[in-house]
């Protein structure tokens, strides 16, 4: 495949991966998200992950639903086919595409609204079907694109909100995934590249459905009930100020902490998110223990990060279905059409 070796000119100084490509070759268009949006950090991590894995960009397929998160596939892998479908239905499109061509690498980007509200059924069934797909939730607790309504996920920025959360329990995609028998599930934070990049890479390499929940703060609408800096407050304030559309430019929140440790991250609105990185000895193969561990930490107000569970024994969709190894899209018509003689023979039974 001669054209792989043809990275776009120049940049002689930039490092190259095994394919001779630079990180540039894994980039996309300029982001149009708010300055400082966590999603842009996830984009950067994805670029690094693909680059590091030496994947030829055009053999990757990137998919998404609708939302700020849904836009991000435009911002990486310019040389990959992308599909920005309808809200909450990316899993089905990914299933169809992966069904058609099992030899490509699939990465789906979703939001917490996209995944846990409108798309919950599709997410659950893609997990159950074990489609070979890296599924990233850019989880910010709000509907970013439609301007900050609450989403069904935990209000990740607020520890103070825990009491209220008990009233209308937030949906935790990790616990949900575990209860559905997911074969790979991890959690990380958008600003923690050290942890996120390898997790994404592990998810990409996992054969089957890999769920990575990335807490990715919305710098514009991140909000918590009760907090005076919350969106609720802002909104009421805005109503007063008629049509104000001012969005304060913010900076990305970056963190770095060691395995086994916890860290308090201050969000843009002043809320505190407590992350705890899995200790190094943690055994992610026992699904029930992982569930118990995560849940227990959640009760303590801590969000566990890391590779939470992996089960290499699960067979992915095609293996279960017994599909041929060659991608269906490449099977020639001659191998699919039984021809006129077979039709004549068959029709004897219709008499």
């Amino acid at each position: 495949m001669s054209w792989i070796a043809k990275p776009r000119v120049a940049h002689p100084g930039l490092p190259r991966n095994e394919l001779g490509l630079t990180q540039r070759d894994y980039e996309g268009r300029m982001s149009t998200l708010c300055a400082g949006c966590g999603h842009d950090s996830v984009t950067a991590a994805l670029i690094e992950a693909f680059y590091g894995l030496n994947y030829p960009p055009h053999r990757i397929v990137k998919l998404s639903g609708i939302g700020c998160s849904g836009k991000t596939p435009t911002y990486f892998l310019n040389q990959a086919h992308g599909f920005n479908g309808v809200h909450g239905r990316m899993p089905a499109v990914a299933t169809g595409a992966a069904g058609a061509n099992r030899t490509l690498t699939y990465v789906g980007i979703s939001g917490d609204g996209d995944s846990l509200s409108i798309g919950l059924g599709q997410l659950a069934h893609a997990i159950r079907r074990n489609v070979d797909l890296l599924y990233v939730i850019e989880n910010n607790g709000v509907y970013g694109l439609t301007k900050g309504q609450f989403s069904a996920s935990a209000d990740v920025g607020s520890t103070a909100k825990k009491g209220a959360a008990n009233m209308q329990p937030p949906i935790d995609p990790v616990l949900l995934g575990l209860s559905l028998g997911v074969g790979f599930v991890a959690r990380s934070f958008s600003g923690d590249k050290e942890q996120l990049v390898p997790l994404l890479q592990a998810g990409l390499r996992h054969r089957g459905f890999a769920l990575v929940d990335v807490i990715s703060p919305c710098v514009t609408f991140n909000d918590h009930e009760g907090s005076t800096k919350s969106y609720r407050y802002t909104r009421e304030h805005l109503t007063e100020v008629a049509d104000a559309d001012f969005v304060e430019p913010k900076r990305e929140i970056a963190v770095s902490y060691a395995p086994g440790e916890s860290i308090d991250v201050e969000m843009h609105d002043g809320g505190i998110l407590r992350l705890r990185k899995l200790a190094e000895g943690f055994d992610p193969t026992d699904r029930d223990r992982a569930y118990a561990h995560i849940s227990e930490r959640l009760h303590r107000g801590e969000v566990l990060t890391g590779l939470l569970h992996v089960d290499k024994g699960l067979r992915e969709m095609h293996d279960v279905a017994g599909t041929v190894d060659v991608p269906l899209v490449e099977v020639p018509h001659g191998d699919l059409c039984p021809g006129s003689a077979a039709l004549d023979a068959l029709q004897e039974s219709f008499r």
Binding site: H58, Q79, A80, G99, V324, D325
Partner: protein, 624 residues
């Protein structure tokens, strides 16, 4: 398709090979196989025949009917009245007996007496103690229940002169490996036959006699035929969610895949069937598959169609080939899941919010289900758009006699404009939505082919270069091209079929229709013409409409649009899409869930014409 009627010479007072028969039973009792046996035997006798199953939306214990129409003249549409009714279900005696034509016969189980209030003067009651015969001759509930069905087959064999050798050989085929069951069946058949011979005047004046009309025919339902079409078209990805009456289409596809789609070396599958979590999921999988380059399809019915709306709009706007089978049932809402209708025509053609229009094919019988399935995949890829094959429960699930299916081994799928790696290597830049050839159809690429083929597919505003846009110009440009593109499919889709008035006279009256009402209309056309009302008939087979539709309308003073829905949906689309005065198009409709009969058409047209003159031949069943 309709051969010239060749009625065998009837003995005085009798009618041969023109029988309408109805069997009323309870579902879950195995009567379906007995009825199938009857229908197949008549078919093997060389007589054109149809079998229509009226079953409840339930699994066991409710009334169910099977209607058989055998007609030497090839008229196998539903008949509204019956020469003979087999009344096996006491719960429906009343209505079943009502449906016998004056002078007809009722066969019933005389193990118990028939209520006096059920009797009619103008029909003959034939009682056979079938339950009693079962009790006397068989042991075990299961076998007794099953054999009662075969006993009535035996009785009918005698009454109608159905060939018993044929019946026996069919049973032998079925129970080849079950000797005991075969013996029971043979016995039951004989019991029924002998009882009839002994107690009734056999055959009835209305009966059957061997012909040779079926040499080149098969008997098949539309869903099986459509599934076979998908196999032959090379479809490899099916995604679906079960719903009556489309379920058997995917079942049949799965069955044929098991037979024809195993890799001979590895035994692995050259197909993938995804039973999705719902119809939104099914539609999404099909869109994803079409986008990635395989021939993908789903099959559904009304409620599923409503759920698929959002994805259909995406496929239209993002120009993704995929095929939807809509096997219509009676709507709206859940409606009557096991009854037929043509109620989704409008919903299909304009499916999804915003400006959309879809290519739709309307098969009239299982033969067209097969061929249109293949056409649908070609059209979908050629025009890069979702294509609908719209049939209905009557076509999809009932048994139709059709000419043998033909397959041309030189067929090659039309993949449309897909650029491969070499072509991409050559061209400078690839723009997904650019109308390079001026025909409204852009080029597409498949994921994984080449970095230069990469683009971003989206359902949001985009311009001809595939770029995101919120600008009037870039947006309108693509939308106008889409309109041209779909319009340009008119000459490519199956053309309308004209059947001029059979008496050769120039007719000032026209009939326009689509789909499974065809046989009823062909029969009605003969009746009307015979009654002095020559009428031409144009059967539309696809949307967008060919020019000949407009020509036909212009050429006739009055045109009746015959359809099986309440709102005259085809008529609506005609007045919308063909610049033609709506007041010259009149609706002929019947939409209560039953297959259309010629009588329905004849009566309504007569009424519209204000002609009260009774046409002698207007009641099917009296037409030889």
């Amino acid at each position: 398709m309709i051969t010239t009627p060749q009625p065998p010479a009837p003995p005085s007072g009798a009618r041969v090979n023109d029988v309408a028969l109805k069997i009323g039973t309870v579902n879950g009792t195995g009567s379906a196989s007995a009825n199938g046996l009857l229908r197949r035997a008549i078919f093997r006798m060389g007589i054109p025949v149809s079998g229509k199953n009226l079953f409840p939306s339930n699994i066991q214990g409710l009334p169910t009917w099977y209607e058989i129409r055998a007609n030497g003249g090839g008229h196998t549409a539903r008949s509204r009245s019956f020469d003979l009714v087999v009344a096996m279900n006491p719960a429906t005696y009343r209505r079943d007996i009502d449906e016998v034509r004056a002078g007809g016969w009722v066969l019933h189980d005389s193990s118990w007496p028939l209520g006096r209030d059920l009797l009619r003067d103008d029909v003959t009651f034939l009682g056979a103690p079938m339950a009693q015969m079962c009790a006397d001759n068989f042991t075990g509930d299961r076998v007794r229940i099953l054999m009662k069905n075969i006993i009535y087959v035996g009785v009918l064999a005698a009454l109608l002169e159905i060939d018993r050798t044929v019946l026996r050989s069919l049973l032998e085929q079925t129970f080849a490996k079950k000797k005991a069951l075969l013996d029971s069946n043979f016995l039951a058949l004989r019991l029924g036959h002998d009882y009839a011979k002994e107690h009734f005047e056999c055959p009835l004046p209305v009966h059957l006699a061997p012909m040779d009309e079926n040499r080149e025919s098969i008997i098949i339902d539309g869903n099986t035929a459509a599934a076979l079409g998908c196999i032959y078209a090379g479809a490899t990805l099916a995604a679906w969610y079960p719903i009556t009456p489309s379920t058997s289409l995917v079942d049949a596809f799965s069955h044929f895949c098991g037979r024809y789609r195993k890799d001979p070396e590895t035994g692995k599958n050259r197909y993938l069937i995804v039973q999705a979590e719902d119809e939104l999921g099914a539609a999404g999988v099909v869109v994803g598959g079409g986008w990635a380059g395989v021939r993908s399809f789903t099959a559904t019915s009304g409620p599923g169609l409503s759920l698929m709306g959002e994805f259909i709009g995406l496929a239209y706007y993002a120009e993704i080939p995929c095929v939807f089978f809509d096997v219509q049932r009676t709507g709206p809402s859940t409606g009557m899941p096991t009854r037929t209708q043509q109620g989704d025509i409008q919903s299909v053609i304009y499916a999804s919010h915003g400006d959309t229009k879809h290519i739709a094919l309307f098969p009239a019988d299982p033969g067209e289900c097969f061929h249109f399935a293949v056409d649908a995949f070609d059209l979908a890829e050629r025009f890069q758009t979702p294509v609908f094959v719209v049939s209905d429960l009557d076509i999809g699930m009932n048994d139709w006699v059709i000419p043998r299916l033909e397959w041309d081994d030189s067929y090659r799928p039309d993949r449309g404009k897909v650029l491969d790696a070499d072509e991409l290597e050559e061209i400078g830049t690839f723009f997904r939505y650019l109308d390079v050839d001026g025909d409204g159809v852009p080029y597409r690429t498949l994921p994984g082919t080449h970095p230069r083929g990469a683009y971003f597919t989206r359902g949001s505003g985009h311009d001809r270069y595939g770029r995101y846009t919120e600008d009037e110009e870039g947006y309108t440009d693509v939308m106008d091209r889409l309109d041209r593109k779909i319009g340009s499919a008119a000459p490519a889709v199956p053309a309308p079929v004209l059947r001029a008035s059979p008496d050769g006279r120039r007719a000032s009256l026209g009939i326009v229709a689509l789909g499974g009402v065809d046989r009823a209309i062909l029969e009605a056309q003969e009746i009307l013409t015979a009654g002095g009302l020559p009428v031409d008939y144009l059967r539309i087979r696809a949307f967008p409409f060919a020019n000949s539709v407009g020509t036909f309308l212009e050429a006739h003073e009055r045109t009746f649009v015959v359809e099986q829905n309440r709102d005259g949906q085809l008529r609506s689309i005609l007045v919308t899409e063909v610049p033609f005065p709506g007041d010259r198009l009149e609706s002929v409709r019947r939409f209560g869930g039953l297959p259309l009969s010629a009588t329905d058409v004849v009566e309504q047209i007569q009424e519209k014409l204000g002609e009260r003159t009774r046409l002698e031949s207007s009641v099917p069943g009296t037409f030889a």
